[in-house]
Symmetry: C2
Subunit: 223 residues, 2 copies
DNA sequence: TCGTCATTCAATAATTCTATTGAATGACGA
DNA sequence: TCGTCATTCAATAGAATTATTGAATGACGA
């Protein structure tokens, strides 16, 4: 390593963090780890990737101080190092949202552009829930729901939307949320519900943001 | 390009932004552009880099929506696309600060570790300035000072510290600031002043952050 | 102690990124 | 129209990153 002045050395340290965020798979990993700690194998299964690949990316994230690892017997559980990681992710997303027309095009192009995609804010949701005006569904897989969800939410994983909708009052509006503001599952849930004639909207963002906002989180009973 | 689902496509867009931030030189460029718009040549001169290299990096930043370009005759002036860029930079820095012990080591190792490096907050500074208890110096080059500085600050570029100090009341404390929270010039200014027997501290961060906090900025008269 | 299993390491080929060089572009002023 | 100058482009070589493969490590339980 060449001799560097402190200015260069500092920029290099900052760049290590940004570089670690600069890969789609690693960003997806971060979003998953934001739901709760995961072993390498569990994370690999969630993402449909080979274990060795996930392991290497996890170590890139660890070198950057983004995730931390804790060994538990044969397993190594990875989790986000602290909340600053989520805020860094959010601001990178913020630049992309505001600047890259592509992001908007992707969402509007893939889903039905004619529908009103305006999300429900957290504040609105709390009012609507208090008055019993909406049903809140958490469309993440059951294990993620169990690790923490919005109080009063029902867990309806994406694959069960149709069956669930059939046994529900189709006039009551549904609000769906999942892993984050751009988590595709809630878009798909809303699209599915609307095609079934069910009024539905997305929550503006997902579980980690709800928690980060200091709002109450309900955890499934252990056993 | 292969067929992607929208989830992958979104993560790729976010990764483009993070990847663009993932290079030390580009981060330094962003910090300079945060002081004000610059032509390619001016930026290259500031960074001591070949023009073609800077041009290429600027285009990488532009593709990511981080900077915007505006042609003015023969010159193309680049500037930060919006304030979300600064907040993204700040949160990447936040992860690095909190997680990378290396960053702290660099600063403490390079400068005199025995000195108290605790910075003055913006709030403290306003009180101290109002009561006339400190002299505030802006150690950036004159052209950056001219584009906007903290009201009441005196421009003392790094090379002029010694001469300036000689003609000043050595008992009055000096507060120094420059381009940002880790801008090395203010560390060096404080070290230089202290070695000259002048009490000195750093402001917690620099000009762009002052402006972003909504505080008043003084601009040099045009002429 | 040995086998099992989660994780990491090492080696690799393919791809992407980077800095440099020199030529091309495009706008201004003579 | 031509020369000048700021910027961009194109081509290159070198370096870094990535996914894959299979072997090594390290902890548990029999």
């Amino acid at each position: 390593m060449s001799i560097r002045n402190p200015k260069q050395a500092l920029y290099e340290q900052f760049a290590i963090v940004a570089k670690a965020l600069g890969h789609p798979l690693r960003l997806e990993m971060i979003e998953h780890l934001a739901q709760g700690a995961r072993s390498v194998e569990a994370l690999a299964a969630k993402l449909g990737q080979p274990v060795a690949n996930i392991s290497q990316h996890l170590q890139a994230l660890r070198r950057a101080g983004i995730v931390s690892a804790e060994r538990d017997g044969k397993f190594v559980h990875y989790s986000l190092a602290d909340d600053s990681v989520l805020s860094a992710f959010a601001s990178v997303r913020g630049v992309a949202e505001r600047r890259l027309a592509e992001v908007d095009r992707i969402v509007r192009g893939y889903f039905d552009a004619r529908d009103d995609m305006r999300p429900v804010t957290r504040g609105e949701l709390q009012t609507l829930m208090r008055d019993g005006l909406v049903t809140l569904i958490d469309v993440r897989p059951a294990d993620e729901f169990a690790l923490g969800h919005v109080p009063g939410a029902i867990n309806v994983p994406l694959g069960e939307i149709k069956a669930w909708s059939a046994g529900t009052d189709a006039s009551k509006e549904v609000v769906a949320y999942c892993r984050g503001p751009w988590c595709v599952m809630s878009f798909e849930a809303v699209a599915a519900l609307r095609s079934l004639g069910h009024p539905a909207r997305r929550l503006e963002d997902g579980m980690p943001e709800w928690k980060a906002a200091g709002l109450p989180v309900e955890v499934a009973d252990r056993e």
